[in-house]
């Protein structure tokens, strides 16, 4: 059978890859994708802990559901802001967004 550790290592890897995307990418849409990967890693963590240690308590499930809601809301608002910037500037590359410096 699969031990809990496999899931946790998998989730940690996914989280770190997402984190790398957030820190290294220039494109705002790509940064948001990195955030989505991080949030997915959190959900794997939560469900794995729940499955192996704490079932059938519903705290883990509720947490996952709330994370899904927040992720959807954050993405919707994030993409709306990205489109709003694109309309003014014709770019979504974060490096080019440098009207303000210092």
């Amino acid at each position: 059978m699969i031990p809990l550790s496999w899931y946790l290592i998998f989730a940690a890897a996914l989280f770190c890859i997402g984190l790398f995307g957030v820190m290294a990418r220039k494109n705002a849409v790509a940064i948001l994708m990195g955030v989505e990967l991080m949030l997915n890693a959190v959900n794997i963590n939560l469900l794995a802990f729940w499955r192996y240690l704490y079932a059938p308590d519903f705290a883990g499930w509720t947490f996952v559901a709330i994370v899904l809601v927040a992720a959807a809301a954050e993405t919707a608002v994030g993409l709306a802001l990205i489109i709003s910037v694109y309309r003014r500037r014709s770019t979504v590359v974060v490096d080019d967004l440098s009207l303000m410096k210092g």
Partner: protein
């Protein structure tokens, strides 16, 4: 090694490969498509955890809504869609080192924890009872408040997204 283990490793490998492609591929549209594969891999791992409900929710919400939203955004910001220049910051190796360090720290720290090697026990009957979960979400002595606040959050996000994205032509300095 059991079949289940092999299957898990395959799913994890595909998911992580897709995730690496999401953060490294040049074309943003390709990144979005890789993201869908990665999200699907996560859904499969949810199913392996015997939480079929969340596997379905993952497919519907993440792939059906969020990924499609991202693809829409990519297409609406179409110049970037054609952008084939370097997509990483010049100092991209700094985050790479930081992230590798964080990963080593996370795995190292987790492996010292006593629960790390826990094997799966049979899932209790009550754990797969969705109606109990539904009741917990509307029970004032459980999760009714977060459940209600989540709807307020969605209302705020809806109004906010429309507020900034609704078209008003012209550029002002």
């Amino acid at each position: 090694m059991t079949i289940q283990q092999v299957f898990f490793l395959a799913v994890a490998a595909i998911t992580l490969f897709a995730a690496v492609m999401v953060v490294s591929t040049r074309r943003i549209m390709h990144a979005a498509l890789w993201l869908i594969l990665a999200l699907f891999g996560v859904a499969v791992s949810f199913a392996l955890l015997e939480t079929g409900f969340f596997a379905v929710v993952q497919v519907v919400v993440y792939i059906g809504a969020i990924a499609i939203l991202i693809i829409f955004a990519v297409m609406l910001t179409r110049q970037v869609f054609l952008d084939v220049g370097p997509q990483l910051n010049r100092g991209w190796w700094i985050p790479a080192v930081l992230v590798a360090g964080l990963y080593a720290a996370l795995v190292g720290v987790l492996s010292t924890w006593s629960g790390f090697q826990t094997q799966a026990a049979a899932l209790p009957e009550a754990a797969s009872d969705l109606s109990q979960f539904g009741l917990a979400l509307v029970d004032v002595n459980a999760y009714a408040v977060p459940f209600e606040v989540a709807s307020v959050l969605l209302l705020g996000a809806l109004v906010g997204a429309i507020f900034v994205a609704s078209d008003r032509k012209g550029v002002e300095r």
